[in-house]
C-alpha cells in the first residue's frame, strides 16, 4: 500500500488544531462529495479525504500516525494487517450500511473498529437487513437487456474479530432501458432474517462501464463521429455506429466541426426513449505521400483560407 500523507491530503500543517482539520475536511468533503461534484475522480478524492480525516480527527490514531508514519496501522491495529481490500473493492461489494460507497462502514467492518457493535446483527428476532451494492453494466446491456452474473463480496467478522470475505454469485436480469443511477431490487436476496423472520432485499445500483464510443447522459447517448472534409462540406450519407448496430446517417452539406446530429429515439429505450447524438469531428487525411502533399498544396492555392480570422490574426 502506497504511503499517504494525510496532512497533505487535507492541506493542513502538521501542527494543525482539531478545529482546523475539521474545517479543512468539511470544505474538501463538500467539494469532492460524489453527489455534488462532477469531477471524474471525485469519488476517489472524497474517499482519500475521508480516510485522512478519519485518522487525523482521532487523537490516538493521529498520534500513532505521527509517530509511525506509514506503519501506524499495522502497529496500532495488528488485526487489520492481515486483510487488504481487493483493488476493485468498490465493485460488487455488498454492504449492510445504507450505501454501497460507504467508506466508513467498509473501514470499520474491515478493520474492526466497530467490533463492539458487531453482535447487533444476531441478537434479536427481526427481518434480515436490506443490502446495497453497485453493479456496472455495458451500455449495450441497457439497450438489449441482458443476464449478468454478479459476484458479491461481503466482509464478515467472526467472534474472534477475524475478517474474511465471503463470495456469492447471483444471476441478474438487466431489464431493457435501465438507466444509470436506477436501482434493481432483488427480493429476499439481502441479509438473512433472525429466528425465522424473512430475509431482507438486495438493491443493486446501476452504473455504466466507460465505453470507448458512447457517452450516456440520462436517457440520451452521444457518439463522436469522424467525417472526411468533403463529407462535411458537400454533405453525404455515412454509416454511424449505434449500440444496437450501424445506421445510415445523412450529413448535411456545410456541416462544421462539433455539429450535433440527433437520431431521435435511438438513445436508451423507454417511454419515451432517449435520443442518440452524433457529434461530428472532421478528420483530415494524413499528408504522408507526395500525392497527398501535392493535393494539400493545390488546395491551399485554390482555396485561400484563414481559420484564425475570427481571432483577429
Amino acid at each position: 500500500m502506497q504511503f499517504k500523507d494525510y496532512y497533505e491530503t487535507l492541506g493542513v500543517a502538521r501542527d494543525a488544531t482539531g478545529e482546523e482539520i475539521k474545517r479543512a475536511y468539511r470544505k474538501l468533503a463538500r467539494k469532492y462529495h460524489p453527489d455534488v461534484s462532477k469531477l471524474a475522480d471525485a469519488e476517489e478524492r472524497f474517499k482519500e479525504v475521508g480516510e485522512a480525516y478519519e485518522v487525523l480527527q482521532d487523537t490516538e490514531k493521529r498520534a500513532a500516525y505521527d509517530a509511525l508514519g506509514e506503519k501506524w496501522r499495522e502497529a496500532g491495529q495488528p488485526r487489520g494487517d492481515d486483510f487488504r481490500p481487493p483493488p476493485d473493492w468498490d465493485q460488487g461489494f455488498e454492504f449492510k450500511g445504507r450505501d454501497a460507497g460507504d467508506l466508513h462502514d467498509l473501514f470499520e467492518t474491515l478493520f474492526g473498529q466497530r467490533g463492539a457493535h458487531a453482535h447487533r446483527h444476531a441478537d434479536v428476532r427481526r427481518p434480515g437487513e436490506d443490502h446495497h451494492a453497485k453493479v456496472a453494466i455495458e451500455i449495450e446491456d441497457a439497450y438489449r437487456g441482458a443476464t449478468r452474473t454478479v459476484t458479491l463480496r461481503q466482509p464478515v467478522m467472526d467472534e474472534q474479530g477475524h475478517v474474511s470475505v465471503t463470495q456469492r454469485q447471483l444471476s441478474v436480469t438487466v431489464p431493457v432501458g435501465v438507466r444509470e443511477g436506477q436501482h434493481l431490487r432483488l427480493a429476499g436476496q439481502g441479509g438473512a432474517g433472525a429466528a425465522g423472520a424473512p430475509a431482507g432485499d438486495l438493491y443493486l445500483e446501476i452504473t455504466f462501464l466507460p465505453h470507448k464510443l458512447y457517452r450516456v447522459d440520462g436517457r440520451d447517448v452521444s457518439v463522436d463521429l469522424p467525417v472526411a472534409p468533403w463529407e462535411a462540406a458537400l454533405g453525404a450519407t455515412v454509416t454511424a455506429p449505434t449500440p444496437v448496430g450501424p445506421v445510415a446517417l445523412s450529413i448535411p452539406a456545410g456541416s462544421v466541426q462539433g455539429r450535433k446530429l440527433r437520431l431521435k429515439g435511438r438513445g436508451l429505450p423507454g417511454q419515451p426513449p432517449g435520443d442518440l447524438y452524433a457529434v461530428l469531428s472532421i478528420a483530415l487525411p494524413p499528408a504522408t505521400s507526395d500525392a497527398a502533399r501535392d493535393f494539400y498544396a493545390q488546395w491551399q492555392k485554390t482555396m485561400p483560407f484563414n481559420p484564425r480570422e475570427s481571432m483577429g490574426v
Partner: protein, 102 residues
C-alpha cells in the same frame, strides 16, 4: 451463504416500485423519524396523509439515499440537504440547457 449462481426476480425500483414508510426506512437503514424529517423538508413526497399510510414512488429511494449521504458526510441538516438537492437540480437543468444550445 450460497456459492452457486442463483436467479432472482428483478424489479426496477424507480419505475416498478412503491414503498411504505417501513419499507423505505429499511432500504435506507433509517427509522421513520428520519424519513418524516425528509418529508417535512419536501425532499421526499409521499402520497397519503401520515407515516402509517404514506406511499413513496420508487424514485424517492435515490433522493433519500442522496439526502442521507449529504447529511452524514457533510454534517448538514435536512434543510441543508434539501437546499443542496435543489441547487444540484438547478445546476443539472442549466448544464442540459447549455448542452442543447451548443
Amino acid at each position: 451463504m450460497s456459492h452457486e449462481s442463483e436467479s432472482s426476480v428483478v424489479e426496477v425500483v424507480e419505475t416498478d416500485m412503491v414503498f411504505t414508510t417501513v419499507q423505505l426506512g429499511r432500504a435506507c437503514h433509517v427509522d421513520a423519524a428520519a424519513l418524516e424529517e425528509l418529508v417535512s423538508q419536501g425532499i421526499l413526497e409521499p402520497q397519503g396523509t401520515g407515516p402509517e399510510d404514506w406511499r413513496f414512488a420508487g424514485a424517492n429511494l435515490q433522493r433519500a439515499k442522496t439526502a442521507l449521504r449529504l447529511i452524514r458526510d457533510l454534517g448538514v441538516n435536512a434543510a441543508g440537504a434539501a437546499l443542496a438537492l435543489e441547487l444540484m437540480a438547478q445546476m443539472e437543468a442549466l448544464r442540459r440547457a447549455a448542452k442543447s444550445s451548443e
